[in-house]
């Protein structure tokens, strides 16, 4: 939707440029997240991780990518062909669409034009992201079903059950934030977190009493992205590789990318919702004014991704029943309690 002082043409052009940049950054980030993961896990396990391809193995992602592209693309017999192909595309495209709604910073002035650092800003961005992530379940579920393999099916079943279950807790954990900020717009949420108490405690939501919500969100997000300790849908010891057992080559790469880009999205959201987004000390020349928020934001995202990897290297996998009861019997009541307390406090204060 044309906004501010931009004409339609410039809006379209700016959008295309933004999309290109964001996608490029995202895909690179995804690639290097994989590298980072291998590296960090390696160090946690007293290994080196990738070292051969490029300095510190920095070119490893490139090699991986090449390998994916040139692998033979196998389609097993007896699969439901249409859905089998659709599933990874669905998964990847949903995760890419989600990132479009994430703002990376305030708007910047380029050549007299006020361009927001975000592909789309809507009033209900958060809702749309929730909607898209809920659609993403189809990718996993359909992959599991269409492969016509029992491992895949079980993985798909687990994935969809798990994602639905944790989505409830995830959604509820956001309600506290929404009550505090009073908007669905991610931009608005960040703006509501600017400023500090006593000059040094930032007014982030996590410090406004949403730390329980924050932890619920983190845990639910791990489950939503099928990460350890909630990676039962692809638990290799039981299910070979879960829903993507039968996938290979680029189709497998799509799932892979979808998973990591989801991680990035989730990390971005966590930063925006709980840690103040791109807020931070801004100083120096105008160029720094423009870049520093992006830097602060990237820092937070990086932190979350690191935690992801850290957790993966540390924690064992849950059992399936533990996973479910954890969601319904622990996270959900906790989230509801958090919502109620937050609402009560807000109501009493006003």
């Amino acid at each position: 939707m044309p906004t501010g002082n931009l004409s339609v043409t410039t809006f379209v052009i700016a959008s295309i440029i933004k999309i290109a940049i964001v996608l490029w950054v995202l895909l690179t980030a995804v690639a290097y997240t994989v590298w980072l993961e291998r590296k960090v896990v390696g160090h946690i396990q007293n290994r080196w991780g990738p070292t051969r391809v490029g300095p510190f193995g920095l070119l490893q992602p490139l090699a991986d990518g090449l390998k994916f592209i040139f692998k033979e693309d196998l389609t097993p017999p007896y699969v439901h062909k249409f859905l089998y192909i659709l599933a990874p595309m669905l998964a990847l495209s949903m995760s890419l669409i989600a990132i479009c709604l994430i703002p990376f910073g305030n708007s910047v002035n380029i050549a007299g034009m006020n361009i927001p650092l975000q592909i789309t800003d809507t009033n209900i961005a958060l809702l749309i992201i929730l909607g898209i992530t809920s659609i993403a379940v189809y990718g996993v579920a359909l992959a599991g079903w269409s492969s016509n393999s029992k491992y895949s099916l079980l993985g798909g079943l687990r994935a969809s059950a798990q994602m639905i279950s944790y989505e409830v807790a995830l959604g509820l954990s956001l309600v506290g934030v929404l009550i505090l900020c009073g908007t669905f717009s991610l931009h608005g949420i960040v703006e509501a977190q600017t400023g500090t108490w006593f000059g040094f405690i930032p007014k982030w939501n996590i410090f406004k009493g949403q730390f329980i919500a924050f932890f619920i969100y983190i845990m639910a997000a791990y489950a939503e992205t099928n990460r350890i300790p909630f990676d039962l849908p692809e638990a290799e010891t039981e299910l070979v590789a879960g829903y993507h057992t039968e996938y290979s080559s680029m189709k497998f790469a799509m799932f892979f990318m979808a998973e990591y880009s989801n991680m990035v999205t989730v990390a971005c959201l966590a930063s925006i919702l709980f840690l103040g987004g791109w807020t931070g000390p801004v100083f120096g020349p105008p160029i720094l004014h423009a870049l520093l928020p992006i830097f602060w934001f990237a820092l937070r995202v990086l932190f979350f991704i690191f935690v992801y990897i850290w957790v993966r290297g540390t924690l064992p996998r849950f059992r399936y029943d533990q996973l479910m009861s954890f969601a319904w019997k622990f996270l959900l009541p906790l989230a509801i309690a958090n919502v109620m307390i937050t609402a009560l406090v807000v109501a009493l204060r006003s």
Partner: protein
């Protein structure tokens, strides 16, 4: 113009999806067709300015209800449906009834003065607006809905639980 084009595109998608829902024999195809219908309806809602509803439509319908359907289909490993003859009552009463009903609705719609064109988003269904209504005028239904959901949860547990 753009509005009409978008309406037509999503409308056609919705109708095709609906027909596909009936035409497909495998439930999972039907389910996905329905998801398509729901998605295009979400777009229609946006065209009508109901932005909150559009999002909720995707989250609740496509993202929750239909996932449940797909989940159930997978769980039961339901195959393509058998072509049995079906209930005679349904055919004898249902089809003529449907025809009569459609004619009646069509007649009513033709006679109703709803040809008015309403500009895009003239009624802006923002989250705030709906929220205000929900927590004021529609407070009681909103609260009572919790009873409904409680019953549904309880029922689902009771019915689907395996007897020891």
């Amino acid at each position: 113009m753009l509005h009409l084009a978008l309406f037509l595109i999503f409308g056609v998608i919705a109708v095709v999806g609906a027909i596909n829902l009936i035409a497909q024999t495998h439930p999972i195809n039907s389910a996905l067709s329905l998801v398509v219908v729901m998605g295009s309806l979400a777009a229609e809602y946006l065209l009508l300015g109901a932005e909150f509803l559009g999002a909720i439509q995707v989250i609740v319908y496509a993202g929750a209800i239909m996932v449940l359907f797909v989940f159930t289909i997978m769980l039961l490993n339901a195959g393509a449906e058998e072509q049995t003859r079906g209930s005679k009552v349904a055919i004898i009463i249902g089809i003529p009834g449907m025809v009569i009903g459609s004619v009646a609705v069509a007649w009513a719609l033709i006679r109703a003065h709803t040809g008015a064109e309403v500009p895009v988003g003239s009624l802006y269904g923002s989250a705030q607006g709906i929220g205000h209504l929900l927590f004021r005028d529609f407070l009681l239904p909103f609260e009572i809905t919790s009873v409904l959901i409680l019953i549904a949860i309880m029922g689902a547990v009771v019915l689907a639980r395996r007897e020891s």
